[in-house]
């Protein structure tokens, strides 16, 4: 066996061992520090807690005189196409929204972030920035606020507001 082969077998074995360890929450924080290129995969698909909610982003604005607009839906992704088993680019935008919202939920639970620190985090700013640009501002609107709505069901939908942001300046 050549030296290159021995080296590669060792590297691959190490990769598999670290991958196995990375699936356990106890080792994730340590491994994530060295996993900038995501070479250590996570194989816990839809487990232990599968996504059983759809996420939606809504926005409303506040005029200078204090009046509020109605909530408007922020368009993030269109419905899944009928041939999604072949072609489904929409899944990216919905996954980005889901990932950002999951990150926000985790940040809210952290003692060093919480509700007061959340507006300074990237997932929050990402959704805020996107919503502000995706929905044109009403004339005379001074501030806006976003909310995360969770839903389940196809025909009969159950809706729940799981997060409400503070008001932010429109300009």
């Amino acid at each position: 066996m050549s030296l290159v082969s021995i080296l590669l077998y060792s590297v691959v074995t190490l990769w598999l061992v670290i991958t196995l360890l990375a699936q356990h929450s106890r080792f994730q924080s340590v491994i994530n520090r060295f996993n900038g290129l995501h070479i250590i995969p996570r194989w816990t698909f839809f487990a232990p807690n599968p996504g059983v909610r759809d996420y939606h982003l809504v926005i409303r604005e506040r005029y200078r005189d204090g009046r509020l607009t109605d909530w408007k839906s922020v368009p993030v992704y269109p419905a899944r196409p009928k041939l999604a088993y072949l072609w489904n680019p929409q899944k990216r935008a919905s996954k980005i929204l889901t990932d950002a919202i999951q990150a926000i939920k985790l940040l809210l639970k952290r003692d060093d972030v919480g509700l007061s620190g959340l507006p300074f985090t990237v997932p929050y700013l990402l959704l805020l920035h996107y919503a502000a640009h995706a929905v044109p501002a009403e004339p005379d609107a001074a501030e806006f606020q976003i909310a995360i709505i969770e839903s389940t069901g196809h025909l009969e939908r159950e809706l729940e507001c799981s997060f409400l942001s503070s008001f932010h300046s429109r300009w």
């Binding site: 066996m1 050549s2 290159v4 082969s5 590669l8 077998y9 691959v12 990769w15 598999l16 991958t19 196995l20 699936q23 900038g36 290129l37 995501h38 070479i39 995969p41 996570r42 194989w43 816990t44 698909f45 839809f46 487990a47 232990p48 807690n49 599968p50 996504g51 059983v52 909610r53 759809d54 993030v76 419905a79 899944r80 999604a84 088993y85 072949l86 072609w87 489904n88 680019p89 899944k91 990216r92 935008a93 996954k95 980005i96 929204l97 889901t98 990932d99 950002a100 990150a103 990237v122 997932p123 700013l125 990402l126 920035h129 996107y130 995706a134 839903s151 389940t152 069901g153 196809h154």
Partner: protein
């Protein structure tokens, strides 16, 4: 014997790289359809994502490297590499093309931060494995090529086993509610499947336990008689096709099927080692 082994690995490479090419073309085309996400008003705007910590690129070139045009260039490279991988074996482009796809995986995972999924992870594994196998075949080094097979089959076994193990510790998977819950979403669900499952809790529990059981038992494929191993992999392929149909997980099919030739080679090696052949 060595020549026979090399021929098996070469056949493995041909099937694996073809499926890798299919995934690379599909994933790049789907990202192209999402290029608006990378614009200044998009969900993946660099204006915001640049604020995250631990960026690897030097600040002086960071903006250019992460611009929408750079993303397009990387995706064009992935498409070109995918097309070149389709040239029949022996193909001197296999090694550089698989490395190019691997680099594009690293770039996209760093650039997007959010939105990646298991198909991207397995695509990266396959690209790395194909690069190692191609190098081994080009250098006529069977052990080198076999380490690529080891990498792909090892990650495949881990992927299925871990997916099952993570579900068995979850109460919603064990009581069958996970299936109905997921099917009731518009993102990963299916309206007909949801209405069917809603009235059949026993069926939901059966499907959940079938998923848990088969995923956790995947490592046994390496020990099974060849006919049983092939039949098992056909069932897992059907599982991925059904996930594509009911859940819209279309991109998972190609990289996961791409692991099967390596799994079959690992199966032969394990059975040889056990003296069962």
């Amino acid at each position: 014997m060595v020549t026979e082994g090399m021929a098996d690995i070469a056949l493995c490479l041909v099937i694996t790289k073809t499926l890798l090419a299919a995934w690379a073309l599909l994933s790049a085309a789907e990202w192209f359809a999402n290029l608006h996400l990378f614009r200044s008003d998009g969900l993946l705007t660099w204006n915001i994502l640049r604020l995250r910590p631990h960026l690897l690129i030097p600040p002086s070139v960071r903006h250019r490297v992460h611009a929408e045009s750079a993303v397009s260039a990387v995706l064009v490279c992935r498409i070109a590499a995918g097309l070149l991988l389709l040239i029949p074996y022996p193909n001197p482009a296999d090694l550089p093309c698989s490395l190019l796809i691997l680099l594009s995986c690293f770039y996209m995972s760093r650039r997007t931060w959010f939105g990646g999924d298991g198909s991207d992870q397995m695509g990266m594994v396959i690209a790395a494995g194909v690069a190692i196998i191609s190098a081994g075949l080009a250098l006529d080094d069977m052990n080198l090529a076999a380490s690529g097979v080891f990498a792909i089959s090892g990650q495949a076994v881990l992927a299925y086993f871990v997916a099952g193990a993570a579900k068995v510790v979850s109460p919603v998977w064990r009581d069958g509610n996970a299936l109905l819950g997921v099917m009731k979403t518009r993102t990963y669900g299916h309206s007909l499947a949801a209405s069917f499952a809603a009235e059949r809790p026993a069926f939901c529990k059966f499907v959940c336990w079938l998923t848990i059981g088969t995923e956790m038992l995947f490592p046994l494929v390496l020990l099974a008689p060849p006919g049983v191993a092939i039949a098992s992999l056909c069932c897992f392929a059907l599982f991925h096709f059904s996930n594509a149909y009911f859940m819209g997980l279309n991109a998972f099919v190609w990289p996961f099927l791409a692991t099967y030739p390596a799994v079959m080679l690992a199966h032969s090696a394990v059975r040889n080692w056990m003296g069962w052949v």
